[in-house]
Amino acid sequence: MTSDSFLDVAGAEKAFGGVTVLGGVDLKVAAGEFISLLGPSGCGKTTLLRIVAGLLAADRGTIRLDGEEIGARPPHRRDVGVVFQNYALFPHLTVAENIAFGLKARKRPTAEIAPTVERFLSLVHLTDFADRSVRALSGGQQQRVAVARALAVQPKLLLLDEPFSALDRKLRENMQIELRRLLRELGITAVFVTHDQDEALTMSDRIAVMNKGAIEQLAVPATIYRSPATAFVLEFVGLSSRLAGTVVGQDYDQVIVDTAFGPLRAPGSFVPGASVMLAVRPERITVDAPGDYALVARLRDAVFQGSKVQLHFEAREGDHLMVETADLSDGLPAPGTEMRLGWAVADTLIYPAP
């Protein structure tokens, strides 16, 4: 990955008026890869994207794209396409003219422009809309024009800044799948900024979870979800049951932690006496399974969610005990019911207390 990375951002730093927005970020992206920058607003993900696009100058750091240092180049000489959050379509041009804009600006031969525009119009299913004003399009159509416009010049890298945030849920899911397919077909390397974890998990080859101007974890979606590197990643991506506790002992490769529900085990090693947080993904917990169980808890609330049921249990202040399970055949249990909860030690995550 180090030698053949297509995009290589090293030590990118940016501060606005003394406030650090990016604190020395490294990011390597392989050719053809789809990477998501996932994080809450203000984590620096859009700043990083704008720095790579050249719309913002980094205070420090280097950016290499396809073997060339592009950090000092103006945006129009970087060959980096951007799909903006609000699409930023040219309102005075038609759909086809928007798509042709980059080709004309790059002085491509006229004979080449029309077929390219045709091709990208059909790739985003807008052939019939070629001569429409972009102002007359729906949100989903505008988004497709923005994607086609950015791709028509065949940039080395495509950056997407929350391009789905203005679309309603159903349309968004369709567009995500569509866009992913299109980028795979064209073999485009893409960096995608989002604060929506579902979007990141669905679309990405790898996800970089960002917090306070730094990348907390960069890994494939399954790893991000199953083995979050930090408590922040755990809480930002997906739901989890969390119990605070104190390390009381070590048993070979397992830590024994004293919690409000008694001693529990987790893989790893910690100094005895350390304050820690134990966490388990809610679907990893079994309810009322015979034999193996970890603790008994009193049900506070049961939430029916169609394909699954969410069970919330009474827990100490600061703790959070929840289970997700397939729809229960004999109806929702009543609040106050005592239930036995169990999970594998291997599924237990442990972090220093936040």
Partner: protein
């Protein structure tokens, strides 16, 4: 949006909202104008176009027409060159700075052209600030008088009409998403290409109104040339004024007034049409 055809202006009650304005303009503007027009066509022996023939056959009058259009064109150009970037600075400034700038543009309008023209008389004198600055910078060898010159007139008039260029362009620029230029950049467009293909076409409606305002005001200005250049330099407007006020020649006055009106309207309408055409075919 409903699918039914747009209601005609006669049936749409909203059109009635324009009635007071229409009535007012008819009484105080259209009728006097018509009277003026008739006056210019009425000779001692009835209807005649003799005043127009006489006016157009006198080379002095052609110079007057030339003066009028040349000064108005220069004033418009100066206002545009200064006002266009200023409108961007204004639109992109922070909230507080924007209010300060807006007030400093709008407030001077309340002073009135006469006071400002007198102020410019002081500025343009041989020992005025313009002359002294240029000598100080070494651009002029000795102090010169700009007062009572065409340059002085253009400078003074441009200053007075500048807000009418800045404000319409500002109101359009404020509506332009700054991301559009960024989008152009990421598509490979140079700053110049972005300006000519994104910014300029999108600001064209503002430019058209700004130019129309400033041109029609400077083609018809009367007080400013009277104070800044004097009687030796005649424009259609000052000639009209002199005809009515000094020469008591209502026929000459109404003739020049009609010619001025026709010229101004056709140039403003013509340039608007041309700009729209260029803007419409912009790709």
């Amino acid at each position: 949006m409903t699918t039914k055809a747009a209601p005609s202006a006669w049936r749409d009650p909203v059109a009635l909202l324009a009635a007071p304005a229409v009535l007012y303009l008819l009484v105080v503007y259209a009728f006097p104008l018509l009277w003026l027009f008739m006056k210019s066509l009425t000779g001692p022996g009835g209807l005649t176009i003799q005043p127009y023939v006489a006016f157009l056959s006198d080379p002095f009058n052609w110079r007057v027409v030339g003066n009028t259009l040349r000064v108005a064109a220069w004033v418009t150009v100066v206002c545009f060159v200064i006002g266009y970037p200023a409108a961007f600075a204004l639109a992109r400034a922070g909230a507080v700075l924007q209010i300060v700038m807006l007030v400093s543009i709008i407030l001077p309008l309340s002073v009135g052209a006469v006071v400002k023209a007198f102020a410019w008389q002081i500025v343009l004198r041989r020992d005025g600030i313009v002359s002294q600055t240029l000598v100080g910078l070494g651009l002029w060898d000795e102090p010169q008088r700009l007062l009572f010159t065409e340059t002085g007139l253009v400078l003074g008039a441009a200053n007075i009409f500048l807000p009418f260029m800045i404000l319409p362009i500002y109101s359009v620029v404020k509506l332009i998403d700054p991301r559009l230029s960024e989008a152009g950049a990421t598509l490979g467009a140079t700053p110049l290409y972005r300006f000519t293909h994104v910014t300029l076409p999108l600001t064209l409606p503002g430019i058209v109104s700004g130019v129309a305002f400033v041109f029609s005001m400077s083609v018809s200005m009367f007080v400013i040339p009277s104070l800044l250049i004097g009687d030796r330099f005649q424009t259609l407007a000052t000639l009209t004024g002199r005809s009515f006020l000094l020469m008591r020649n209502e026929q000459l006055g109404s003739t020049t007034a009609v010619i001025l009106l026709v010229l101004a309207v056709s140039i403003v309408v013509g340039s608007t049409w041309l700009a729209r055409r260029i803007g419409g075919s912009q790709t």
